[in-house]
Amino acid sequence: MATVNGDAFRVVGRPQRKVDAVDKVTGQTRFADDLHLPRMLYGKLLRSPHPHARIVHINTSRAEQLPGVKAVLVGSELPTPFGILPVSQDEHALTPDTVRFVGDPVAAVAAISEDIATAALDHIDVEYEQLETIASIDQAVERSEPLIHDYGDSGNLHKLIDLEFGDVEDGFAEADVVREDLFFYGGSTHLAMEQHASVASYSADHKLTLWSATQTPHYVHRALARVLDMPASRIRVIACPNGGGFGGKSDPFNHELVTAKLAMKTGRPVKITLTREEVFYCHRGRHPTLMWAKTGVTKDGHITAMHFRTALDGGGYGSYGVASTYYTGALQTVTYQIDRYKFQGARAFTNKPPCGPKRGHGTPQPRFAVEVQMDKLAEQLKLDPAEIRLRHLVPPNSLTANYLRVGSIGLGACINKVVAGSGWKDKFRKLPEGRGVGLACSSYLSGAGLPIYWNNMPHSGVQLKCDRGGGVTVLCGSTDIGQGSDSILAYIVAEVLGVDPFEIRVVTADTDLTPVDLGSYSSRVTLMSGNAALQAAERARDMIAPEVATKLDVPRDRLVFAESRVFDTEDPERGMSFAEAVQAAEAALGTIGTVGSYTPPKSAGRYRGAGVGPSPAYSYSAAVAEVYVDLESGIVSVPKIWVAHDIGRCINPTAVMGQVEGSIYMGLGEALMEDMAYRENRRVVHKIPSMLEYKSPTTLEMCDVETYLISDPDPNGPFGAKEVGQGPLLPVAPAVANAVYDAVGVRIDEVPIMPEKVHHALKQKAKGKEARYGPTSFPEIAWPEPTRVPTPAEGGDGKAFKREEAVTAVPPERQH
């Protein structure tokens, strides 16, 4: 059958509006806080004013007696812990005994108005016994008392990882130059414009519905069933369109569980909308990460070995932190060839809001280190920073030292584009003092290769039905957080069935109606739900086509589905409308419905910890940043960034452009200003939980962006598509740091690159001291015995050496 021939696509690759664009520009999109149900109550959470304390006593009687208050809830009523990862079930809907950060919820109220609910919080009496705080990575390393949690790998260290792929000492011995550098990547938060909100309704026949601003309705569904001790079949979770996510709505949250429980307790619908201040406390943002990188290279820049250490400030709970920690060591290997690689990572519990997955999840921090260190190595070797990278790219269709399978890699084309576009060769080391350019590259996953809960089921499912009127409905559990995942489903189905994407109805993110998709995280949705939609659509086409072929008396392989018709490619007049085609098929076969699903290929690594890093496809980006540095103040401004992104293939190039530009923007914020700051001397309270004081780029700080899209179709992507939502963020911070060095000759080995840091380094330089700002030491950590895995080049099969084989009864960790 004539289907998708080469590049002759009708929908794929063309600019399109998003299917929900008109709703969004007319204000008709209904976000969670826009929902109002009859007799709805308003819920509020009482949050801890202390960073670390034991709850001695809670008395809710004064609040209960307040007119208009319908229910008060405390932690003992929801005793079952939860958490996004099976290995970190360390949160409670309301903490029953210990608060672990300022903002940790301890009680909740439902009342007939938001005003009464807020007032009622002042009538809940909580007696706390304050505990000493752990405020930093260093303190967590040094002190195992008091313990923030009663689990973890060592004292207040939540997770310790030690992985070794080949003997790095051999690699360093082969190197001509070995460098050791320290870096720090500061914490930042998602700052989605929409504050989290959820609405719950509990019916008299004991069915619960929760509408929520969540990126992961499937995991919220699981958490509700667990904590409420209810069959999942009685719970329906509907993810409303998210007003931005960026990873900040990927965990199941306290307020979601509390909203549900309050609805059950009162028999009335309940809504909780967080204030902006509370959103800062929910956090789950970028882990502040201290890094040490030791890298050995030959004279031409070939990396013979890399030894990388990270220490993450995790905050008060586990969240995705175990996965985040692995991610700080996973993707170093997928850009430039690294012969031998060793990674040691530690995540600390501290008395701060929990960190988790923010756009790039655990990878922007090490990428910053790798790319700035590459810049230093290039200078040391007197090589151009573009050249040193181009010479040693990971080859396509290869296996890295840590067993990540790279498919297509368009990084070389990306580097060449930004070098040419930016006029790199005329600018690098040639601009007047105060102006400079810097280059950096990156890579990111197109979806995690393993699910959070290990099972053999698909990661994404689609149901598709065709009706007699020619209508097509696509049902999928995926969640549109603004990235356009609903549109992707429509475009792909439209391409295969030859109908207009705007005539397709897309039903998503509803656990009652839609098959499971794991959620909008790890840049997985276009690839995974896209492949599921592709399969469902092809199956529908394969049901319809034979009946049309019979009716028209045309060989099946000559039929084309296009322009809402099915016709003979050799005689286009000979055909029928798509609606008539569906009718013919329905008459012959009954109701026309299909399913599609997607499961990623098995990963090559078989060692403990191999679950984090594998992906069906890796995207690649390269960026050049141009900066101005004010020599007096140290203020860095960025007039322009050139970025090239290897997207595999664009499903909708305009939507891809939007993701690239948005990633550059968020990367620029992290590079220059965004900072989750705490008053350590004031008991670890958040310094600035407001949008005014948490500085993010406005139109006046945002740079110009010149974007190049590189098509290098990957066989694992739908039509060859790879991810774009996260990868292009990663090169921004290191490109800016490298440009600052080009401009004024000081190394800022720490983000955000704030004026005071540049100013300090400039002063050091003027005094003839080391022209650098950045960390100066890495804590002494008692690393565990390493898991030693021979590399593919050494003939390894992905398994660890013997010590590991003894524990094969323990399943490998398979966190996201």
């Binding site: 600019p15 969004k24 414009m193 204030t275 576009g421 990235q483 530009e661 949008m691 005014l692 139109t699």
Partner: protein, 179 residues
């Protein structure tokens, strides 16, 4: 005359014009225009991001000028004219700004979009041919976390050209990137 207070219900009653229509509404006197619009008038198109005047998300037009509705008391709007995103389209026809935002993907999550649209509408009323810098200045009080603002600038420029009667289309660079 446009305000009356009912002491028993502790509500004020005002009349005002909302999206061109005479409107009567009663609410507690401390309520902000944002709350009156969303909760008392059911106009949920106006969003909120901070309720402290920091993000621009709740911007509406009050007598044709952009204001942050979270910082305006409802009672201060008595007798005045408010335009929200729901009032931008003329019947079934979208405003040129709405068309351009949809064409260029200037609305990603769409949450900040109403505030941007109305602020841009006020700009174009005052200045039908704004430069890129003038657009940046006018929109500097509105935060967007999705787009990096670039598609928003391009959409405002596209809409401005179309409103001037020029047969404008998005550039290839905006739709496909640079070659």
């Amino acid at each position: 005359m446009a305000i009356s207070s009912n002491k028993h219900a502790e509500k004020v009653h005002i009349s005002l014009t909302v999206n061109g229509e005479h409107t009567e509404v009663a609410f507690a006197p401390h309520r902000t225009l944002l709350e009156v619009l969303r909760e008392d008038l059911g106009l949920a198109g106006t969003k909120h991001g901070c309720e402290l005047g920091e993000c621009g998300t709740c911007a509406v037009l009050l007598d044709d000028r952009p204001v942050l509705s979270c910082l305006v008391l409802g009672v201060d709007c008595a007798g005045r004219s408010v335009e929200t995103v729901e009032g931008m389209a003329e019947g079934p026809d979208l405003h040129p700004l709405q068309e351009a935002f949809a064409d260029l993907g200037a609305a990603q999550c769409g949450y900040c979009t109403p505030g941007f649209l109305l602020t841009a509408e006020a700009l174009l009323k005052e200045n039908p041919s704004p430069s890129r810098d003038e657009i940046k200045q006018a929109l500097a009080g509105n935060l967007c976390r999705c787009t990096g603002y670039i598609k928003i600038y391009e959409a405002v420029e596209l809409a401005a050209a179309r409103m001037r009667g020029e047969p404008a289309e998005p550039s290839n660079e905006a739709m496909y990137g640079h070659r």
